[in-house]
Symmetry: C2
Subunit: 160 residues, 2 copies
């Protein structure tokens, strides 16, 4: 029976995940991983705020250290929607896609019906060795669809 692709709070045990990946277990990493389990698609900013609720003097650098190390170890995937700060997710090892709100930047997972990458073929490979077809769906989320976007800064990056 395969493991579910989505990480839920109760089934991510940072200590075990980290040790298995060959990374040392530290408070900082535990906190970042737990925050990511609770908030899929969190930005570095959001991760820092979350972590600072328990550890007020955590630094942004420690967040970037952690997610970068996690990414290198294959524990985390980083997504960079155009016009929005990068986001991080624990869901790796499957080829899924994303739906992004143009206004607030909230991200949702979209299952890939194909499974493996690349899940689409390019009509012309231009001589490249292609390994991935990244699909980003763009739209406006239900919370933003009613709002006018008078001051673009007004409600930026608030969700999730």
């Amino acid at each position: 029976m395969p493991l579910p692709a989505t990480a839920h709070t109760h089934d991510v045990v940072p200590e075990v995940v980290l040790r298995t990946a060959g990374l040392r277990v530290t408070d900082s990493r535990r906190a970042v991983m737990q925050a990511l389990a609770d908030q899929p698609h969190a930005s570095a900013d959001q991760l820092l705020s979350t972590i600072q609720r328990a550890t007020p003097d955590a630094s942004m650098q420690s967040v970037y250290n952690a997610v970068t190390d996690f990414e290198r170890a294959g524990l985390v995937r980083r997504i960079e929607p155009a016009g929005h700060p990068g986001r991080f997710e624990l869901r790796v090892g499957d080829n899924h896609h994303h739906l992004v709100c143009r206004q607030c930047g909230q991200v949702e997972d979209i299952d890939c019906v194909v499974g493996g990458a690349p899940c689409l073929d390019a009509s012309n490979d231009h001589g490249y060795v292609i390994d991935e077809a990244e699909v980003t769906f763009w739209g406006v989320c239900s919370q933003c669809v009613g709002k006018k976007l008078e001051s673009p800064q007004a409600s930026k990056e608030t969700h999730e």
Copy 2:
């Protein structure tokens, strides 16, 4: 007979395009548009270098001014491949996709077989109003595929 989707050097007449879009015709805009016609997928940096060959004291700000105005007028599309500076293209009005070299950032157009946007369906819309499915193919171009990437800074963003 529809106009071809790809802009070629000889069929972009900046003066006409600009005036038709309701934008004033200036040296700066003419230069940026001509540079874009010659180099599809140019970055702001590349546009500036190109323009400076004829006008050495052109500024980066004028490039950003121009492309931003063009984008608002629907003359230019901006693409932001993850990990690379933004790029600009004159090919608008069709729904095509891109192939990006992970190493040098070079971009190729990939025709969309569907045509209109969104050309894919999300398996779940999560309550969003979805208007676009952006597809980015990732790979390594033929010029980079042989090279080792010893110093990541060594040959950055050189192509095209």
